[in-house]
Amino acid sequence: MSDLEAFRQETRDWLEANCPPLMRTAAGSEDEFCWGGRKFVFQSEDQKLWLERMASRGWTVPTWPKEYGGGGLSKEEAKVLASEMRRLKARTPLVSFGIWMLGPALLKFGTHEQKLEHLPKIARGEIRWCQGYSEPNAGSDLAALATKAEDKGDHYIINGQKVWTSYADKADWIFCLVRTDFEATKHNGISFVLFDMDQDGVSTKPIKLISGNSPFCETFFDDAIASKTNLVGEENKGWTIAKYLLTHERTGISDMGLPTPLNALAKEKLGTIEGQINDKMLRHQIAEHEIDAASFMFTLERAKDEAKAGGDMGAFSSMLKGYGTELNKERHEMILKVNGSDAFEWEGQFSNNGEIARNWLRTKANSIEGGTTEVQLNIIAKRILNLPA
């Protein structure tokens, strides 16, 4: 037996023995995942147990180095772990911006001390992070940001406002883009700092969206303090890290597991005649969508394999972001069609408080947050196709 096969067997046995029953079911929405953090309330004992057990092996972040709380697995081993988890329908034990975004950035740009300080707490789900990027006057033109950080020797004093801060009201710490040099050109005066949000100088206010939910906040800094030990990378060189993070922002979301195929939803809702969805037009539309969706899924696989083989994917992630989010919006439009008028129930027991409609409206932000689809197309045009400015 090869080492990898032995690892598979061992992993399978361990998961069988340790994955609690409630964690062997698909999560219905983002809210049913464990996000960790000081304020997180576990939804079940199984959820808590599953996090503790997986974190004890470093398997909440399988490929991070062991000394920083990870599992130290090779990419091949991590693939085996993922496939064994899928086999058991085991839920991802912990999801967070710390895992998807800050972690990879710290691994690349952080000092050893910063990694030791922050990564294990992310891996164990102890600290929940949010991202302070967009500002009221810096959206698609992110580099125009104006939140000011004043140098006070061993710390910065921060004043300004962020907006569209995902889950800021639930987060403990923030990784934040601030302006440390107002004289330099706009990309060259930005720094990347981390600070605790549990201080007088930080306040948050949820923004109510068209879905009725409030996944985003406005975040205000009024003489907030950030220690200089938490400046990541060099002062005024934060844009490099910001770009790196934007490139990686969405890859993590695809690890939350594939959603139920549209065709299965349609078969259940509309029934079948001779095995075909009982609505010819909808069947055709679903096939069109799923042809694109399957092709895109293989593109994620190809991009990973290209990167593993040493290919420089660079701006290719803009293509993935743009295409993937547009597909997801289309998917939710199709879910509305499958459900007909039932999809528009907004409250009450029949609809789990309007789950379908609220999820549909949530997807409208997919192609705005993290760089709009139009910004992604600009990046492809300039950086991949070399079209003139």
Binding site: E290, S295, F298, R302, D305, A381
Partner: protein, 378 residues
């Protein structure tokens, strides 16, 4: 298996890209068209393709081929798509070789595969009888006669039909039009008495034909595979042919994008390069995205074909997606080139004309979207 080309396939790609760009660029197809060439491919090119191992790419080494598999065939087809290289590659080396390999007996394999690999025999399939692909709708009759079969009926859209030496004909040996059972594959020599080949000049300037069978007599040994059960072997073999067509369409789409981007970088209007207009940048970027996504579906299907077994879901996915993307790419290329894109002097027109023709071959977008849905269980 990683969803990328391995080292050997990468080398093949470089060699094929270089070979077709140099030896069979689109100007060659233009010349063949202008000369009203009978075969509509260069015999010299075909000979060189045999020497390069391209014509035996799917044939195993035991039968004198290169045994490069479907991924290799796709790599070559993509290069041919980029250059619109005309040859009997797809009809003979892919579609026919795949069917003989899947359904032929030892004698048939032994005589046909080496000849196909060497480029000495050109074989092709005669499947369709009307404008849409519908194997089960086959009406052409093969009645028991003289210890063999007598064929009567008509076939259309026969690839390289005017040049083929051997035709593999889908015929009805029993049952009614529309039945899945009762279909058989028969090998017919193009010189057989009662066989009439009418070359049809089509939009893509390649060699197509309608073939009429007026009581064509063949022996019992003409049967390829089991009598009445042709679809069982035809579809898996056709899937290989379909995925290689998808690869050719991918090459066409990629070339259309590349030429269009180059034009956007050079053409000036209103005193600026038109590539600086966001309206055009976004369309080019969207086309880039669709091609990148199509490339993944095609490579996946090629790999699944090599893995063996039923890969109809992957094949229909790849052909459907490639049809849609090639349609977009060729339309966008004409539009973004403006007036010059409408002229015969400019090459883009050749691409749109070839793309539509092979989009229809062995099932168009709708055929494969429907089949994809059925294979997915809905």
């Amino acid at each position: 298996m990683a969803l990328i080309l391995n080292e050997e396939q990468q080398l093949l790609k470089e060699s094929a890209d270089g070979f077709f760009a140099e030896r069979a660029p689109v100007s060659q197809l233009r010349q063949l068209r202008d000369d009203m060439d009978d075969k509509c491919f260069s015999a010299d090119l075909w000979k060189e393709m045999a020497e390069m191992g391209f014509s035996g790419i799917l044939v195993d080494e035991e039968h004198g081929g290169a045994g490069f598999g479907l991924v290799g065939a796709g790599v070559v087809a993509e290069a041919m798509g980029k250059n619109l290289s005309a040859s009997p590659f797809h009809a003979s080396s892919i579609a026919s070789a795949a069917i003989i390999d899947a359904a032929g007996n030892d004698q048939q394999k032994g005589s046909l595969l080496p000849a196909i690999a060497a480029g000495e025999t050109i074989a092709t399939l005669a499947i369709d009888e009307k404008g849409t692909h519908d194997p089960e709708g086959t009406a052409l009759k093969a009645e028991a006669s003289d210890g063999g079969y007598k064929l009567s009926g008509m076939k259309t859209f026969v690839q390289e039909g005017g040049a083929a030496d051997q035709l593999i004909v889908l015929a009805r040996t029993s049952g009614e039009q529309g039945d899945r059972d009762g279909l058989s594959l028969l090998l017919v020599d193009r010189r057989a008495a009662g066989l009439i080949v009418d070359r049809t000049v089509m939009t893509d300037s390649r060699n197509w034909a309608k073939v009429t069978f007026e009581g064509v007599q063949v022996g019992a040994d003409a049967l390829i595979g089991e009598e009445g059960k042709a679809l069982n072997t035809l579809n898996p073999a056709l899937d290989k042919a379909r995925v290689v067509l998808a690869a050719e369409l991918l090459g066409i789409a990629q070339e259309c994008l590349d030429q269009t981007v180059k034009y956007l970088q050079e053409r000036k209007q209103f005193g600026v390069l038109i590539g600086s207009f966001q309206g055009l940048q976004h369309r080019a970027a969207q086309l880039f995205s669709e091609i990148a996504v199509t490339r993944s579906a095609v490579l996946k299907a090629l790999q699944m074909g090599d893995a063996g077994g039923d890969f109809s879901w992957f094949a229909s996915l790849a052909k459907a997606k490639a049809c849609k993307t090639a349609e977009l790419a060729t339309n966008e290329a004409v539009q973004m080139h403006g007036g010059i894109g409408m002229t015969d002097e400019f090459d883009i027109g050749f691409y749109i004309k070839r793309a539509r023709t092979i989009q229809a071959l062995y099932g168009d977008y709708n055929f494969h979207a429907d089949r994809f849905a059925s294979c997915s269980g809905y």
